[in-house]
C-alpha cells in the first residue's frame, strides 16, 4: 500500500515537469524583449545588454529552465511586470475568495448531482429520468456566464433576495460570506452538476443490473437501502473520478464567474494578467491551478482503495 502511494506520488513528477516546461516556454516565446522593456525607452544597446546579462537572459534555454524550476521549488514565482510585487504575494491576497467559491460549489454540486443521478437511474426510462437528463443537456449547453447573469437578474435585481455582486471575507461573518457566494456557486455548479449526474446515472444503471442487487431485494431490503447502501457504494469509483476531472471545469469556470460577480479572486487576477500581458503572473497562476488539479486527482486516485477494497495494488 505504502509502495503504491509512493509510486503514485512519483508518477506526478513527470506530469508537473511537462506543465512547468510549457509554462516556462510561455515566457520564453512571449513577444517583446523583457530586458528592453525594463531598460526603458532611453536605454542604449549597451544598457540593454547589461540588464540582459544581470537577468541571465543570455543563457541557453535549458539552463534558464533549470534555474527557474529551482526558484519555484524554493517558493519564488518571480515578480509581476505590472505591480512589481512578488507573484506569490499577489496570489496569496486573492486566494481566499477563489477557494471559498470552489469549495462551496463543490459541496453544493455533489449534494445535488449524486441524489439526482441516483433518482434518474432508479426511475430509468420514465419521465423523471428523461427530464433530469434533459436538464443535464441544458446544463452542458448554457455557458456559465449566461447562467450567472440570468440568476443575478432574477434573484438579485428583480426579487432582491441576494446581493448582486461582490465578495465578503469569511472573517466578516459566515452568513454575509455565504450570501455572496450562493449565486456564483449555483452558476458555476450547473455544468458540474450535469456532468456528475450523468455519470452517477450511468454508473448506477450498471450496478443495479448486478446479481447482488437482486439478492438484496430478495432479502427484503428497502429501496432506499438498496440504492444508497448497496448500489451507490459500488458505483462510487466512476463518480468520484469524474468529480476530480470536473475540477478543471470549475477552475476554468471560476475565471468567468468571478468576472460576472465581481469577486476579487484568482480568476479576476488571471483575466487582469492576460489583459496586461503580465507573463510572470500568468505563469504563476497556470502553474498553481495545474498543481492543485494534479493534487486533487492524486488524492482521488489514492481514495480508490478506500472506496473499493477490491482494488489492490
Amino acid at each position: 500500500m505504502l509502495a503504491h502511494v509512493v509510486r503514485r506520488v512519483i508518477a506526478t513528477i513527470p506530469v508537473m515537469g511537462v506543465v512547468a516546461l510549457f509554462v516556462f516556454s510561455l515566457l520564453y516565446i512571449a513577444p517583446g524583449d523583457p530586458a528592453a522593456i525594463i531598460a526603458g525607452d532611453q536605454a542604449t544597446p549597451a544598457d540593454v545588454e547589461r540588464i540582459r546579462q544581470s537577468l541571465r537572459l543570455d543563457r541557453p534555454f535549458l539552463i534558464r529552465f533549470g534555474e527557474w524550476v529551482w526558484q519555484i521549488l524554493h517558493g519564488d514565482l518571480g515578480t509581476s511586470i505590472f505591480t512589481n510585487l512578488p507573484v506569490t504575494t499577489m496570489i496569496a491576497q486573492r486566494f481566499e475568495p477563489t477557494l471559498s467559491l470552489m469549495v462551496v460549489t463543490l459541496c453544493f454540486a455533489v449534494a445535488i448531482a449524486v441524489p439526482v443521478g441516483v433518482l434518474a437511474a432508479w426511475k430509468a426510462g420514465t419521465w423523471i429520468d428523461r427530464s433530469i437528463m434533459a436538464f443535464a443537456v441544458f446544463g452542458f449547453s448554457v455557458p456559465v456566464f449566461v447562467i450567472g447573469y440570468l440568476l443575478a437578474y432574477v434573484f438579485a435585481l428583480e426579487l432582491e433576495w441576494l446581493p448582486v455582486q461582490g465578495y465578503t471575507p469569511i472573517a466578516d461573518g459566515i452568513w454575509p460570506w455565504f450570501e455572496n457566494l450562493i449565486l456564483p456557486a449555483v452558476a458555476l455548479g450547473c455544468v458540474y452538476i450535469a456532468l456528475i449526474a450523468r455519470i452517477t446515472r450511468a454508473s448506477m444503471l450498471e450496478v443495479l443490473q448486478q446479481d447482488y442487487i437482486r439478492t438484496a431485494r430478495a432479502k427484503g431490503i428497502g429501496q432506499r437501502g438498496i440504492l444508497f447502501v448497496h448500489a451507490l457504494k459500488n458505483a462510487a469509483v466512476p463518480i468520484v473520478t469524474v468529480i476530480g476531472i470536473g475540477i478543471a471545469l470549475l477552475i476554468g469556470g471560476a475565471v468567468v464567474t468571478e468576472s460576472v460577480f465581481a469577486i476579487p479572486g484568482l480568476g479576476r487576477l488571471t483575466v487582469d494578467a492576460i489583459l496586461r500581458r503580465d507573463y510572470p503572473v500568468i505563469q504563476g497562476l497556470v502553474l498553481l491551478f495545474s498543481f492543485a488539479y494534479v493534487l486533487v486527482n492524486l488524492a482521488i486516485d489514492l481514495l480508490y482503495t478506500v472506496l473499493d477494497p477490491r482494488i489492490r495494488y
Binding site: P14, V15, M16, G17, V18, V19, L21, F22, V23, L26, I29, A30, P31, V137, F138, F140, S141, V142, P143, V144, F145, V146, Y149, L150, Y153, L157, V164, R198, A202, L205, E206, I247, A248, L249, I251, G252, G253, V255, V256, S259, V260, T270, V271, A273, I274, L275, R277, Y279, I282, L285, V286, F289, S290, Y293, V294, N297
Partner: protein, 298 residues
C-alpha cells in the same frame, strides 16, 4: 362449402400492430429524435450565418451615436448597443464566428488527435513519450491553457482556433489511443498480421475505420465546447478582436450595462446557448445511434 361447414379462425384482436420498418433518412430521424432536433436547429443556425446579409440586417459595425442604447423596437428588433450599432444584425452575424470556430476546432483537433492517438497506439517508444506530454497538457485546465496561449498572440479568429485546438488535442488523442489499444487485440488484426499485412496498411484498413464512430461523437462534443470557450475568451477580452461581432464580444460590451440594459447580454446569450444545445443534442443522438454499447453506459 367453406362458409357453411368448416370453422373459420376468428380474426385475432389487434393487440400487436405490425411493426412497419422505416427505411431511409426519414426512418432514421424518426428513430433518433435527438439527431432530428439537434440537426434541424443546427441547420437553422448555419442558414442564418450563411444568409446573414439577406435577413433584414444592416452593417453590424455601422456606428450611429444618435441612436445609442435603444430598447428592442420595430426598427431595431434587438435594440442598439452603446455605440448605436444594430444588435439584431450583430447577433445574426455573430453566428458566423461561433460556427466557424466550433467546426474548425472540431476538425483540426480530430485530425491531430487521430494522428497522435494512432501513432502512440501502435509505436511503443513514441507512446510513453507522447502520453507523458499529453498527461502534462491535460493537467492544465483547458480554458486556462487556451487563455495562456492567447496571451502570447494578437486576438484573431485564427489564433483563437489554434489555441482552443491545442487545448482539446490531448483529450482526443487519449480517446483514440484507448480505442486503438483495444482494437489491436482483436482477432481480425491478428489475422491481418498473420497474413503479412504491413503496419501502415493495418492502421489504415483495420484500425482507422473503427475509430471513426467514437471520433465523430467526440468531435461534436469538441465543437460544442469550442463554441463555449470562444465565447468565454471573447467575454474576458482575450479572444476575437472587438471589431468582429461575435457573441462573446457582444456580451463583453454589454457587461458594464447589464443591470440597466440586460437585453444586450440576453440576445447573444440565447443564440449561443441554442447553438451549443443543438450540437450537444446531435452529439447525444449520434452516440446512441453509432455506439449502442456506450449509449447504455452514458
Amino acid at each position: 362449402m367453406t362458409a357453411a361447414g368448416a370453422a373459420v379462425a376468428p380474426d385475432l384482436p389487434d393487440l400487436l400492430p405490425a411493426v412497419k420498418p422505416r427505411h431511409g433518412i426519414l426512418g432514421f430521424l424518426r428513430r433518433h429524435p435527438t439527431i432530428a432536433a439537434g440537426g434541424a436547429l443546427l441547420i437553422a443556425m448555419l442558414m442564418m450565418a450563411v444568409f446573414a446579409p439577406y435577413l433584414g440586417t444592416v452593417d453590424p459595425t455601422a456606428l450611429a451615436p444618435a441612436r445609442r442604447l435603444r430598447p428592442p423596437s420595430a426598427d431595431h428588433w434587438f435594440g442598439t448597443d452603446m455605440l448605436g450599432r444594430d444588435l439584431y444584425s450583430r447577433v445574426i452575424y455573430g453566428a458566423r464566428v461561433s460556427l466557424i470556430v466550433g467546426f474548425a476546432v472540431a476538425t483540426l483537433a480530430s485530425v491531430f488527435g487521430l494522428a497522435i492517438g494512432l501513432f502512440g497506439g501502435f509505436i511503443r517508444w513514441a507512446d510513453a513519450l507522447l502520453m507523458r506530454v499529453m498527461d502534462g497538457l491535460m493537467s492544465i485546465p483547458p480554458i486556462l491553457l487556451a487563455v495562456a496561449l492567447m496571451a502570447l498572440t494578437r486576438g484573431s479568429v485564427g489564433n483563437v482556433i489554434v489555441a482552443i485546438t491545442i487545448a482539446e488535442i490531448p483529450r482526443v488523442s487519449r480517446l483514440v489511443r484507448g480505442v486503438v489499444l483495444s482494437l489491436r487485440e482483436q482477432p481480425y488484426v491478428d489475422a491481418a498480421v498473420a497474413a503479412g499485412t504491413r503496419t501502415p496498411m493495418i492502421i489504415l484498413r483495420h484500425i482507422l475505420p473503427n475509430t471513426l464512430a467514437p471520433m465523430t461523437v467526440q468531435a461534436t462534443y469538441i465543437c460544442a465546447s469550442a463554441m463555449i470557450v470562444e465565447a468565454i475568451l471573447s467575454f474576458i477580452g482575450a479572444g476575437t478582436p472587438p471589431t468582429i461581432p461575435s457573441w462573446g464580444n457582444i456580451m463583453a460590451e454589454g457587461r458594464a450595462l447589464w443591470q440597466v440594459k440586460p437585453y444586450i447580454v440576453f440576445f447573444p446569450a440565447v443564440f449561443l446557448s441554442l447553438t451549443v444545445l443543438a450540437v450537444n443534442l446531435l452529439g447525444d443522438g449520434l452516440r446512441d445511434a453509432l455506439d449502442p454499447r456506450l449509449a447504455k453506459r452514458l
